[in-house]
């Protein structure tokens, strides 16, 4: 199975309030909030770290979660965020071009 790379899209504004990451789509003003584990994935979405490594480093190391279940949940989460246009997914590292 090929690795999944994730990157935050540029058309969002995000702020951490308490333990929730609040994200607003600048495209349609939809507001999203992420819980602690989803926030950890969001913050690590740099385009070059595979999702499996993010889960291992950011979730399994910090939270008491089963690695396989955590990866499944993470894949579901990032697909959902990608559908809303606030995260980009790729099977190749995502390098921003200016």
């Amino acid at each position: 199975m090929s690795p999944v790379y994730i990157a935050r899209t540029s058309e969002v504004a995000a702020r951490l309030l308490g333990s929730e990451m609040m994200i607003m789509s600048a495209r349609d003003s939809t507001l999203f909030s992420l819980n602690e584990t989803a926030t950890a994935i969001w913050q690590a979405a740099n385009g070059v770290t595979p999702l499996s490594e993010i889960v291992e480093r950011s979730l399994c190391a910090q939270f008491d979660v089963d690695p396989a279940a955590a990866l499944r949940d993470a894949e579901e989460l990032v697909e959902g965020l990608a559908k809303h246009g606030i995260l980009k997914l790729s099977d190749q590292p995502i390098v921003e071009t200016k």
Binding site: E11, A13, L17, G18, M22, M24, A26, S29, L31
Partner: protein, 271 residues
Amino acid sequence: MGPAIAQDVLVEIGAMPVLVRTISPEFHQILHERYGGFVNSSAQPVFEFEVEIVPPGSIPTAIGDDEDLSVRFEVGRWVLERGDFHAELDPSLRHGRIWQSATPYAIDAAFRIVHSLLLARQGGLLVHAASVVRNGRAFLFAGVSGAGKTTISRLAPQDATLLTDEISYIRREADGYVAYGTPFAGELAKPGENVRAPLAALYLLAQGPENRIDPVADADALRAVLQCVLFFAHDSELVGHVFDSACHLVQHVPVRRLTFVPNSRVWELIV
């Protein structure tokens, strides 16, 4: 008949003077009646409007009377349209032109939109909220239509100064947030006082069986505040600014839920 003479009215809301130029004596009179307490002829305008009064039905708008407001950015200018007016604003020249009939409603809407656009880059917000000054400090009472903005304004004690019962104007300044009076009236049909005061708290209005104040988590405060922010433009950069401003506001101004029975004793809690 001689040449028409343009007359200027300088309307200053939230320390942002906007000049309105018209050759219509009737509309000039309307402006003075509507914005009397906010006219400041000596201010330096940050934006200028030329208003062309046209008969109803002749307004060059692409949308119908029953359609919502449209605010879009096209070829370097903002285009504002509603059934009763068409406006084109050039932000680089800080100049705009409005075609409308001789009523105060269109210019009122244009003012709200222009101020929301200008404020977005300055950390300020227009909020669906009543606001009141008491003992030198301003309090905002935010809520969607029917939440009780006009009710809480009506119940305010005599020592309180009403800034607005409908649209509050807040700006981030060097020492913190400041609330300004606005002429934008709700059911009270009465403009606010043209005064300013440091913002002490923002209350999210709810009506209930008792008067009480409850804490609100920052994330919940942000959701509620964003629901009440007036912003019309679908522009990524400005939406980002508004989001950042709302986040900053809820982190720097106490936001509480105010549940109240409609009687004046609720004001005993507002200190």
